[in-house]
Symmetry: D3
């Protein structure tokens, strides 16, 4: 496949296949229509402008199509941009598929599934275990396909499952150091906390919000799902309320979308673990594009800070 | 019954029956235990200190008992206080009952029930009508007993139902002036918006929060109830999500407990009508104790403001 | 007149008369001057770019001129834009007048004047009645011409009077449900609350802020006017201070421009009624452009929210 | 007169005449009434408790009475308190007067009046000069009696005038360094900025807020006064609006009570000079009670900070 | 030693040795002096009032004395209090020492010192290693004596070192899961982050703030120390600035005392690890006093939340 | 030299020498590269676009080069812009130097140096005097070259020294009116408060932030410098901590970059004097471009306010 589009330097000439992630029509100041294309491969995404776009172009370069582009990697106001020389849709002779161009989690689905199964297996409280297993099974296929978010962190295929697996490993490491933590609650909280995203979001590609997503949000959706699961499984008892509370409170504060703040210990720690894994993911992604002695782009979800890579880091 | 405890002036001597609302033990600076009693009749509540309280006193004056008190109405740091001369529990010869001393809504239950039934009857969308009727029926008895809150507004027996009836009348008046409003959504939103309080709160007397109330809150509880009701009634479709959204968003902002702000017109107006009725209730209660040309006590839920009664008001 | 400019769909060709609301000169990236025209008819306003604009164009298409345009309705970054094919100033043979193109309140001036007169007539307190009548008479002609604001809500000819009439009707409906309200104060507060805008703003077309408007604001201006009116009419007494307070506090909070928050009941309710009518106006305008199942544009004055029109609304 | 009450140390025995500033009745934990007296002499004020207070005591020790006290200066929770051994009202043989016990500004009224007259004399713009002179004359007697505030800073007899004189001198010094400042506006702004306090507050002793003070505030009151003065003097022109703006904006921000922030240079500087003089006054008063190497009491109006007096200060 | 003072129930009679942590004199409402004593043993601290305290009592029960108390454990306004029956200072025959009553970290000093030495040994960057070793050595004795804070978390003897050891273990566990982290920076950051507290605070018992602590704070103090250490060791290069930045930014935000937010990855994670360990410490301490099915006291440093211990926890 | 570039009116043709302050490459909507040049002379700076820029142009018009431009002064979206007709680099025959085009402070370096020396000479406390003199000497040359900031205020050659001199004069004037102020502390605080900028910033031309500047900031840098200076001079005692505190706290609040708020009187006043001089500088610069009766551009550092120049000002 050659190297990814994000690994070229300013001024490099490229000839690559890319997937159209989004396409927005605009009118240039000369009065002619143009397209702002978001093009991606596994390495990430790059913006490109297609000037003087005809309506055929609009169809040919609609989202989810693959295109072949020759062009130059430019620096436009501090952001990388692909200047198109020639562009064409793929045809039958091109041996490229969508899956070749989508960024995916660094772990395979079955590896992740196995790890999560093991964590569920380790749970000792049967109510917690059964509800968690039930809901994971119910949404199994989407859970292993969806990104963890539309942007900011883990925004790739299987990102949601990968985020959960990282958090489970982190939960285990932290519980070893602080043995007063109830790992049943922590593991269940981790597995369920963002599961509502499979209903909140439209899917793994060109992700947008569903109406339920907009009007209720993934937290409320999943709290409801837990309630229904308990009813279906005939489970009653405080475990149901506590699991709902873990999901409800995992954003930490009312302003951040949790109408109740964490009120049990594991809920507080779940919020922390979620944040820590998301931040590590954002920091690594921001800094992997940067050389020692340089500053990263500003990271919106980290209060718009720019991060410095020490010059003594290789 | 004579006049209510709140209608006495500073310096008045009183001899009355009162209901113990709460009792808190403390140690006085002379080292002896004392009780801080919150005593109430229909007119409202008044604080009293019982000095040198024995453990018999503690039992005799526990919450929900009725007591007979002789004493003086005093002003302690700007707040009314009852100075106890003599106090005794009631005995068989006293012809007083709890119901005689509880403040209740100004409308009778059956009158309110009839009004609400009529509003449900006027709904045209069958999904909305059925879910509303189902949930009201399920929680019928508590709904007509509970207060609307533990403090601040409508904090009396049947306060919840009375708040709902006032809001329904207000909804009707406003919809007449702004005919673009969907009265089905408004009426259903009004009836359901605080219904979760029958699970959040412990009951109509000496009201406290349940564990579900603390960990989930009445909004989340009722959003779940709507989901389950729809499932049970076999109702699907956007109406379910919209009803859930109406309840979810009725506090208006994340900081105030609504993880989603109002995103449909009737949700915005529901938030407004809820606020307006609560404020009118608080204002009327604060000002009914005040003479023209005077200021009310500070009202906590109205940003701690004190209100002035114009001297040209009678 | 044909249908309004706002009722065309993307891609429609139009041939219409429009009023120039504003015209801003810019330099295009090709180095040539262009005009950004805000064009309006009764249905609302639309942006258009006039490329390669000569200085004659600048004069011909200055604000308050009427133009004849042939063009296409386009979508530019999610906003409607008019792409100009041909444009020319009107000439004597065109039978179009400014008044034909200005959006006006849905009620006629004399109907509104009569309604307001009736409300003043119903006042019982002579001081309140005389001051209100005096100030309305003093600013009568502007009051019935001016918009209620330069943007956000009721931003059309006679918008101020229409806003006042709606609020008066709302005041009456609410006072019927909460009879402890003093309608004299409510009605006077409604009529006077924004009257200072006739001094704060420049006028009904191409509205901007006057120097008094910028340095003092309509609230302070009207509080002064009430003081002078009372002096002129020889009225003393608490009514004057209370009327000034109603106007002073009607924005509700210091941060929103009221140096004193509402401290009498009717002031608090006035603030509410003002808000409710403004919100209804904004919501109706935002949603009338939207089909069921769609979201409105973001509404700046409603915390930048986008509103959803349920798909079961027709 | 002996040394002031504030200059005694903890443990000192005192025998002094003091003025009752305020008296609040409470009920002690032993059930008996007591009075919390705020007693003052020129050096400042001190709290004292009068236990087992009879209703005769209440009258005898009401505000504005002079009392003779023997007692001990104590430290109660970090605050100085006067423990009463004996207390009695004054009688004819006591040669003490209210004026002997009130703290007054360090400059005499006629000295201050002369300074202010000189500053008005230096004004060059006749409109500004005439309005300032007119309003100062209208409120002359109160202006030289009132404190600048009920607490926080310059809270003593003639405090308002003294605050103004200090600010005038500061204005002159600053204008010398920044000659672009218009001293007419600065001097007029200084003289008028708090003049509304003579209507907002009840008077120089036991100061409280009037109804106009509560409902309108001194800023709005004075803006009105300027408007009426201009009308009476037949002065029109931008000077009137600018003077009103200077007063209106002198608190600097909406949250601090100025519905318009400073929008002319001199208004911004006026806000600064006001703050600087108030802060110097608060700092000096907080630190004059403190020895080198110690911290002052917390100063509420300086964000509740405690200030350190360097040990190398004498 | 018998069980700790915190492990008694309300109503229990106790006869114990306790260390006076603080003693504050007050005047009771009967006019007599009393002492509020904070008494502690290894299990924690409890408040007690000593009524009618003589000046001999004041000396005998000054901070850092040991007392023998017989009394009752009471509940005063929801907080545990010790009601004193008899109290006496210790004498020669009592075989109790201060060290027996001070709460200490759960690990011994030499164990902690060995662990920290090992972490320093693992550092690969010589500049970072030398500065860390130098500063630890310079403040070695205080570092292993001081608490991590005056209240909130790790507020016991050797609390600072224990907090650091826990954070080091946590850093190691997290770095294993996220190998892009530079452990040199993390370990050095952990060891130095709060080391300034040995200058900011007065010592391990009855801890208060020094003047440097108040005027500069432990963050600024340690940033200075790093600068001086580098100068003394002849170390230059970016490592010095980065180490200073790690300490400077470890509170995360300007409002929380860090004038620069974290701008390198390890600084961000250091802030997280610090928080996580502090929170775990606070949560464990708050919940160890609580039975399943109950709520903890409110924890000030966790936004004043109360935490629930699930009833299915043993 | 002719008149400065900022003194031309819209539409004027100019032929001038200008210094390139910054140059940013962009891609125009026609796909060709262009340069956004910030060009300056003593009067200030103006933006210009160079279309179709070759890579030779990029070099020729890099920052710190002088160019000769013929063009027109235009208004682009309310901001002044220079439309380039012809542009060329300077050659040997052009008798223009960088110093001719840089804006400099209105006082000469040696005049300022002499004034500051005099203020240091007036100090009475030898520790304060020696540290101040030592640090000023150490950074002497940069101190008299650097601007006080990269933007907002005193952003010109020698701006830092000029800001300090103005503040010293202001300190003297204020201390005369409030003699309780310690002028040693005030003068030293003024001289040192921003001295860290000579390390935080890159230099007087095309100023940017150094790594130390970004990661530590000028406040922390200078606090360190004071510590090292004291060590080197063998000075101990509270003066060192107090000087560090003056610098540390001079931004006034944690949110503004001071981890400790002012806790000594002179620190509070230093913060004030700093603000006042910066504001005067910003106000004068904003208003000197404005005619009477007009509003200035919005001033970002003054809460984005626009200021009005009264029409009666000349």
């Amino acid at each position: 496949m050659g190297k990814g589009i994000l690994h070229y330097d300013f001024g490099d000439k490229v000839e690559v296949f890319l997937l159209v992630k989004s396409s927005t029509k605009g009118i240039a100041s000369n009065g002619k229509p143009f397209l702002t294309l978001m093009l991606q491969d596994k390495s990430g995404e790059i913006e490109a402008k297609l000037w003087d776009a005809s309506s055929e172009d609009e169809n040919a370069y609609a989202p989810q199509n693959i295109v072949h582009v020759c062009g130059d990697v430019n620096n436009y106001r501090g952001r990388t941009q692909l200047k198109i020389r020639t562009i064409r849709p793929t045809n039958e002779t091109d041996t490229i598929e969508v899956a070749d161009l989508l960024e995916v989690a660094p772990l395979k689905k079955d590896v992740m599934a196995e790890k999560i199964t093991q964590y569920i297996f380790e749970m000792k409280n049967p109510s917690i275990q059964r509800i968690t297993r039930h809901l994971l099974k119910k949404h199994h296929s989407a859970f292993f396909e969806y990104p963890a978010a539309t942007k900011n962190h883990h925004e790739y295929v299987s990102g949601l499952a990968y985020h959960v697996v990282s958090m489970l490993d982190l939960s285990k490491a932290i519980s070893t150091l602080y043995p007063s933590l109830d790992t049943d609650l922590l593991y269940a909280g981790v597995i369920l906390h963002d599961l509502g995203k499979v209903i909140e979001l439209s899917g793994p590609v060109s992700t947008s919000y569903t109406i339920e997503g907009n009007l209720l949000g993934h937290i409320t959706i999943m709290v409801n799902e837990i309630g229904k699961a308990a009813e279906q499984l005939g489970i009653t008892g405080e475990e149901v309320t506590i699991l709902q509370h873990l999901v409800l409170s995992h954003h930490g504060k009312a302003e951040w979308g949790s109408p109740k703040p964490p009120m049990i210990k594991e809920a507080e720690i779940l919020h922390y673990i979620d944040n820590l894994d998301a931040k590590m993911n954002m920091l690594d992604r921001a800094l992997e594009r940067v050389k020692p002695g340089e500053y990263s782009e500003r990271v919106f979800a980290l209060e718009n800070r720019s991060f410095y890579k020490p010059s003594f880091h290789k």
